[in-house]
């Protein structure tokens, strides 16, 4: 019997929900979820259909991560946070960069270290003057057909792309990321995320702690 054509899509949606696909197929499916409502509905259907299996997951004692989560998502610096609001970004960049230059002439500040132990990749993010600098200290760039994309995530906000990380260190004009903001690197198709939001797995992330 030849299955009706939609069965292929439905089987793919089921495979995605089960989790059996390898990374490239998984990324391709995630991209379809975002762009094709019909496919997204199939995935949602399978999530519901298989949900009774969730009862087989036992509860496990969870550590109290609330303090860490609150520090990450709700930093205690409303004034500073307001300065860094995206809408006032340019003015803030000028004010803060100016202040840094005036009081401490262009020190190099460590912003975050992004580490993926499984892949043996480390990116160092630093800030100097008005520039954000990202260099790979260890490991290789993304394999052919893919690219590492750097994101910054304000507390309570959506990720913003800072650019693609290739073979050369990246430098870009950008204010010092405030404490509590998160930097992350995701695996994306060549050219970067087609949607403006991370589409691939997050390889590493770090929250700015000072």
């Amino acid at each position: 019997m030849i299955p009706p054509p939609h069965d292929d899509d439905d089987a793919l949606a089921a495979e995605y929900v089960l989790g059996v696909l390898d990374l490239p197929d998984r990324l391709a499916a995630e991209s379809r979820i975002r762009t094709e409502a019909a496919f997204a509905a199939r995935v949602a259907g399978w999530e519901q259909r298989l949900a009774p299996l969730n009862d087989d997951y036992p509860e496990a004692p969870a550590p109290d991560l609330m303090p860490a989560l609150e520090a990450r998502l709700f930093p205690q610096a409303p004034v500073r946070r307001a300065w860094f609001g995206w809408l006032s970004g340019l003015a803030a960049a000028a004010v803060v960069a100016g202040a840094v230059v005036f009081f401490r002439p262009e020190p190099v500040l460590d912003v975050a270290m992004l580490v993926n132990e499984e892949h043996g990749i480390t990116y160092m993010v630093q800030h100097k003057g008005e520039m954000l600098m990202v260099s790979r200290m260890k490991g290789d760039a993304a394999p052919a057909g893919q690219v590492h994309e750097l994101w910054i995530i304000p507390p309570g906000g959506a990720p913003q792309s800072l650019g693609l990380l290739g073979d050369m260190p990246m430098e870009m004009p950008y204010p010092m990321p405030p404490k509590g903001w998160t930097l992350a690197v995701s695996m994306e198709p060549v050219g970067g995320s087609p949607t403006g939001q991370p589409t691939g797995p997050v390889l590493m992330s770090a929250t700015v702690s000072a």
Partner: protein
């Protein structure tokens, strides 16, 4: 339908921090159980749990209570994150030690929840599958096994496993839609 978890997620979407704390209290144990089972180590599960709750807060606005229960949405988000982590691991670390450490994917949930309609339905439908195929579907879902791992576990070629699983899934769907 009464769904306190869904209410909490909806309040998180409205930036209600107290609801976020209550949601952590209500759901972190279950989500930790999911992460431990899929990722295998406590340290990685804890790391992932922080990431999961960060995403819950950031994505709460996408939750639609008319489309399903809150806990189902949380577990889907959690499983997706855990499986992304697994698949991003280099192939060499997906070795036999992972397989050896896997708990047996016995049909506990279906038996235990026989009183509930949905679960009874899926249990009946699993019964229509050959037992090794039902076990492969369960193992994939609960443990996050890849096609490659399933093929090795059941000692069949990868394409055979893929055909098995796809047929089993479509059969499940057909059965559940009856």
């Amino acid at each position: 339908m009464d769904d306190p978890v869904a209410d909490l997620i909806t309040r998180c979407a409205a930036q209600d921090r107290a609801a976020f704390r209550a949601l952590y209290d209500a759901a972190s144990g279950k989500l930790m159980g999911v992460l431990l089972r899929i990722l295998g180590t406590r340290s990685e599960a804890e790391d992932a749990l922080q990431e999961v709750f960060t995403r819950v807060w950031l994505r709460a606005g996408r939750f639609d209570a008319t489309r399903g229960r809150g806990m189902t949405w949380l577990i889907a988000l959690t499983r997706n994150h855990a499986i992304d982590r697994l698949r991003a691991r280099p192939a060499a670390t997906e070795g036999d030690d992972v397989l050896a450490a896997l708990p047996d994917a016995a049909p506990r949930a279906e038996a235990r929840l026989a009183a509930q309609g949905e679960a009874r339905r899926i249990a009946e439908c699993f019964d229509t599958l050959e037992s090794d195929r039902a076990q492969a579907v369960r193992g994939a879902y609960l443990d996050g096994l890849s096609y490659d791992q399933l093929a090795r576990r059941f000692d069949v070629p990868l394409n055979t496993m893929r055909t098995w699983l796809r047929r089993s899934l479509l059969k499940l769907r057909e059965c559940m839609e009856q």
